[in-house]
Symmetry: C2
Subunit: 390 residues, 2 copies
């Protein structure tokens, strides 16, 4: 086996993460365990990852100067969100720095229309979609796909923000205005009544090697991931199709690192690729305790050119429940002592300076001999934990 | 259930750790997951825990001024080694700060003669021992226990340092000189030919509640823990006796936090308490992946007055193999890519600035359906990892 550069430089590899939220924090935890050193670039004070890394550079992600400053302090750069401007990232690469995933991958993913086109080009199924440079194109999409359809911003959407359901031609104006279609690029997607929302984490190494995690079912509340159940428990052929599609999707965009692949299972048992996330993903948090090598550790391995780890589950089932803020308040929850009394519930508090309605403040994972058992345990602990209520 | 102060202060609890080695680092990792903030007091630059905590105070552990400085920044203090002067610790408590374990517990443990006396007073079996204020007392101990016996420093011994086997009366002078008996307090212990070295981690809460981990067998090489096998696999009555003794030992010294209890299993199937460590312990590193709540997380829970977590194993067996330095060299090992290719091996690199012969640089844990399976996996990965050879 070929030794990577990080074997022979005789010191700890240094990883720079663009962004300092909980994804950076959990990635840092995995990297530290393998002896790496870390730095982050983050706008705000007291961000979750700032408490776990040796070096925090305060500044703007989209500012190429700040990106270059971070890059100059580390051996390899990575990111925890898909919103960093691909042109700025390209400048960092042009200056000779290593970035994974690459700016080319980021460019494809951060524009959802390009992302969809890349999936189609790779022969992967998605809901039908169409560029809508103007209102007329939305009407054409409606005629083509039928109503309702979903009008989406090409960029910067997340957790349901940037989407608008259009029920008929006369709703177009409202949706166009709400999404500010005159200044934002939009596209239209066929409305897709699904049987289930599925997700898979795929880690792809620099040499193209793939590690694929179990198929999970993700349950959303108000367009935000509420819980994930692993394994999803669908028939073997569905599981196989989903795992194949997820791996092909990440190979198609030449992704390096851990990626979230969100999919729809249609009522006809078809798998449609819904959305790719070029980073560790909320639907993979269960892998910290639930798999032999977590999505975070595999991300670190991938970007350092190290061999990928085993994605085997450590128990028959794992369930993760998100902890969202109820309202403005402190970053620590009430009910912690009760939650800590639930045996086998793994409680993660992200250490944010404050809570807000809908803000991701932590999560709980539980393992079990069945999804039902793990779900009951995780939910029991999660129900005690309240952020912002008092 | 009563809410603790840390429930109601509306912010993250702050923990101060006296010392910044790998034990502080792993404790910090567990504390961060629960949303805590951390500071350490550490003499040297670039210590393992300094890369994972928000605040590093550089200074001497034994200096009450530095201890008070750390204490003033945090809600609760704890320590990662048994060598911090108990009188200095008492000054911190006298100033109104919370320290767990207390200076009283530390005083009992850091003097091994007092420790042995505390065990005897609690009705727990140990090898026979005797204070030896002078050479004559060593001769008397030999007459009483028979030869050989072990002459030991009352303080500051670890990993076999501070012990000397005395084969006969004419060896007394050599041992006395080697251990500098004229300036160091010494005591004599009966030589104890054991069938196995066993260890148990016990966590004791501030309210006296106990969490006890599985009985493990610890295999030493050159007086340093080489590997631990969990469970130890001894007959049920031996296991029960050992678990009872370990819990009684920690209750006897009113310990708060996680403690290592090292025991001998005699050839007559008796359990003798060998030594207590007032801190998380090398024989408990397997609990990170091997138990539902690790010794580190339970230590954090205990010192914060939070409920203790489940010590149930996550797999039928767990084996931990220590990674020791071979010689002077970098803190990152060679062979890492090969080791990372062993599926299911959990690799921990402590991030020390350099390796030295015998220095603890990391460890590998593996789980399995049997100790044999876990051992093979952990050893396979550990054998690749070399620190300091090149």
């Amino acid at each position: 086996m070929q030794e990577t550069p990080f074997q022979t430089i005789g010191r700890a590899p240094r990883i720079g993460i663009i962004g300092g939220g909980q994804l950076a924090r959990m990635t840092a935890g995995a990297a530290l365990q393998l002896g790496c050193e870390l730095a982050i670039l983050e706008r705000s004070e007291g961000a979750p990852a700032s408490r776990i890394v040796a070096e925090v550079i305060h500044g703007d992600w989209d500012d190429p100067k700040m990106l270059l400053k971070l890059a100059s302090r580390v051996d390899v750069l990575t990111l925890e969100n898909e919103f960093v401007d691909a042109n700025s990232l390209a400048k960092v690469e042009d200056a000779g720095h290593k970035l994974w995933p690459t700016s080319a991958t980021m460019r494809l993913i951060q524009d959802k229309l390009l992302q969809k086109e890349a999936m189609a080009k790779a022969g992967l199924k998605t809901a039908r979609f169409k560029a809508t440079p103007n209102r007329e194109a939305v009407a054409e999409a409606g005629a083509e796909f039928g109503w309702p359809l979903v009008l989406k911003a090409r960029r910067n959407g997340y957790d349901g923000k940037g989407n608008h359901t259009v029920r008929s031609e006369k709703d177009i104006e409202e949706a166009w205005t709400a999404l500010r279609g005159d200044s934002n690029g939009l596209y239209a997607e066929e409305f897709c009544p699904f049987a289930a929302e599925l997700a898979i984490i795929v880690t792809r190494a620099r040499n193209g090697e793939l590690a694929v995690y179990p198929l999970v079912e993700s349950v959303q509340k108000n367009h935000i991931c509420h819980l994930t159940k692993a394994p999803a428990g669908h028939p073997e052929d569905v599981t196989r199709k989903a795992m194949e599609a997820a791996q092909r999707a990440i190979s198609a965009i030449e992704g390096v690192g851990s990626f979230g692949v969100e999919m729809f299972l249609t009522r006809g048992n078809e798998i449609l690729i819904n959305e790719l996330a070029p980073r560790v993903h909320n639907t993979g948090h269960y892998t910290i305790e639930g798999c032999e090598c977590s999505q975070f550790e595999n991300h670190v391995r991938a970007i350092l050119g190290w061999p990928l780890g085993s994605t085997r589950m450590t128990a028959p089932a794992a369930v993760m429940v998100n902890l969202l803020g109820d309202s403005k308040g402190p970053g620590m929850p009430s009910g912690l002592t009760n939650a800590l009394s639930v045996p086998g519930a793994y409680i993660h508090i992200y250490g944010k300076t404050s809570s807000n309605k809908g803000r991701k403040m932590g999560h709980v994972t539980a393992l079990g001999s069945s999804v039902e058992e793990a779900l009951a345990k995780a939910q029991r602990a999660a129900e005690y934990l309240k952020f912002g209520q008092s």
